[in-house]
């Protein structure tokens, strides 16, 4: 286990050291202390290492992540896991706005609540939120799965494409062109796997699936007011 004091080492030196790890590194476990809400902790990692951040993080923790597993023992600021490609990020506390935005792959788990715009423009990432999510979540979501054990705020899935949205609690309102969908056996399977991987104690059957009504895919002047 490598322990790094972020305050002593500085952000750039920390990220450089993490970036220097290759696929066959034998330094696979890292701990970052004194996070103190700093921005851009452990961004751009590309190695199968496990990084544990003690404390809460600021903007963009774990952004662009590939392969690595990042655990945040605290809450995460805006843009946690933004544009992540693969790997896993687990936030023990809450996440601020646009968690997992534009993510292409991997798994992002928020054990508390996520704020507004969770999974905005997601492109293949899987996001599991144990608590609630804020307004405009999964806006223009293209693919991947967003699983919410609690409630969703206003305008869920506005203008979404083929992402699957699973919500166990209430949805305050659905966004344009987002509708409730049938839960088929394959969705139960997907959900079961995600809940298990996210350590979530919930039954797939308790969720409702939402997705695109596919009316806004191609421009039709009759739909102009819906955009």
């Amino acid at each position: 286990m490598q322990t790094i004091d972020l305050e002593a080492k500085g952000l750039r030196a920390l990220n450089e050291q993490l970036h220097a790890q290759t696929a066959d590194t034998n330094q696979t476990a890292w701990e970052i202390v004194n996070a103190r809400g700093s921005h851009a902790i452990a961004v751009g990692l590309d190695a199968p290492i496990e990084v544990t951040v003690k404390g809460s993080t600021g903007y963009y923790c774990g952004g662009m992540n590939k392969q690595a597993t990042i655990n945040v023992h605290g809450s995460a600021g805006p843009g946690v896991g933004e544009n992540m490609m693969s790997g896993t990020i687990v936030v023990d506390g809450d996440a601020s706005q646009y968690a997992g935005a534009t993510g292409h792959g991997g798994l992002l788990v928020i054990k508390g609540n996520a704020s507004s715009r969770c999974g905005i423009s997601m492109k293949g990432i899987d996001i599991v939120v144990h608590g609630n999510i804020g307004h405009m979540s999964a806006f223009m979501a293209q693919s991947g799965n967003l699983v919410v054990l609690g409630d969703a705020g206003d305008a869920l899935g506005d203008s979404c494409y083929e992402a699957r949205l699973f919500v166990r609690g209430k949805v305050k309102s659905l966004g344009a062109d987002c509708e409730e969908k049938e839960m088929r056996p394959e969705h139960i399977e997907i959900l079961k796997d995600l809940l298990e991987r996210a350590g979530a104690d919930a039954k797939p059957e308790e969720f409702t699936r939402y997705g695109s009504a596919r009316n806004l895919y191609n421009f039709d002047v009759d739909n102009a007011s819906a955009y």
Binding site: G37, S38, S75, G77, G93, D94, S96, S115, S116, H135
Partner: protein, 309 residues
């Protein structure tokens, strides 16, 4: 981008350290606003009853005999205490309006930063640490305070463009965001007789609240109607005589985080601003909801006015 910090103390034993804690929070937000900074501090009430905080770019000349001259003109005892480019003028509460009129005649270049019984506002252009140091903010005590670090987007970097803005007696406003309908609203407010001195968007927001309250609205009602009448992005923190309030626009893209313990309620644009507060590790930390007005007050229980977005 701008930075906001706020601290409302529940534990009286922390009051002597208010300035020190706020300064630390303010300086942490330098990245969000390095061009100017300001602080509104609610300290002990003035012995005379009320006070006006004034600013001058030519303080040596303007403040030399300001207390005596003003006191003579309004027929009351005026105590003047200079603090760098600012001075606090204490006087009986019923003389405030008259004193402001006289000031504009005898010291036309002196700007009024705030008026009230316990509020003092200090703001200047420069790095937050330099601004805090020149006014010795770390030595100030008080019950609650608000600070702002500015990165100007809508208007010039000047003292008058810095926050906080005084909105009414003992009330002030700081803002992170940008208002897009400030020009039309400024014209409308000026037609209604409201004094607006700069091209700054936040000053219009502050003037809007003043105007609403002059027409009978409570601060809570004024903030709620701001959600309808102000177009743009905003996280507002407002200071009142006995507390502070927070409201974010319905889109809520400007960051805000709050922390509460038995000792205090704190606001920061980012969690970073809160990390040195006592007991932050075990504090309740959360993000204020969009389009929701929150208040903490020494005289009442916390209130939350929700409004449909």
């Amino acid at each position: 981008m701008c930075g906001i910090v706020g601290l409302f103390l529940k534990d009286k034993s922390l009051e002597p350290k208010l300035g020190e804690m706020l300064t630390d929070m303010l300086v942490t937000m330098t990245d969000r606003g390095p061009d100017s900074a300001g602080i509104a501090i609610y300290g002990n009430g003035s012995d005379e009853g009320a006070k006006i905080t004034v600013q001058s770019d030519n303080a040596d000349k303007d403040f030399a005999s300001i207390g005596d001259e003003l006191g003579h003109a309004i027929g009351a005892n005026v105590k003047a205490e200079r603090n760098d480019t600012h001075a606090v003028l204490s006087m009986p509460a019923d003389k405030i309006a008259h004193a402001r009129e006289i000031l504009s005649e005898i010291r036309p270049d002196v700007r009024v930063m705030s008026a009230g019984s316990s509020l003092e506002i200090y703001k200047e252009v420069g790095l937050p640490k330099d601004v805090a140091a020149r006014f010795h903010v770390e030595k100030m005590s008080g019950t609650h305070g608000i600070g702002h670090t500015r990165m100007a987007t809508e208007s010039a970097v000047t003292t008058m463009g810095a926050h906080p803005f005084n909105t009414g007696s003992d009330q002030c406003l700081v803002h992170n965001g940008s208002l897009s309908n400030h020009n039309s609203l400024r014209r409308k407010l000026r037609r209604n007789g409201i004094l607006i001195q700069t091209e700054n968007d936040t000053e219009v927001g502050a003037a809007y609240l003043t105007w609403k309250m002059q027409n009978g609205a409570t601060l809570g009602e004024a903030l709620e109607s701001s959600l309808d009448d102000l177009d743009g992005f905003f996280t507002f923190v407002v200071g009142t005589k006995d507390g502070f309030g927070v409201v974010r626009d319905p889109i809520a893209c400007k960051p805000a985080v709050m922390a509460e313990t038995d000792q205090y309620v704190a606001f920061g644009s980012e969690y970073r601003a809160l990390v040195n507060l006592p007991g932050i590790e075990t504090a309740r930390v959360w993000e204020p909801e969009p389009a929701t007005v929150y208040f903490w007050s020494h005289s009442d229980d916390p209130t939350k006015i929700e409004k449909a977005a």
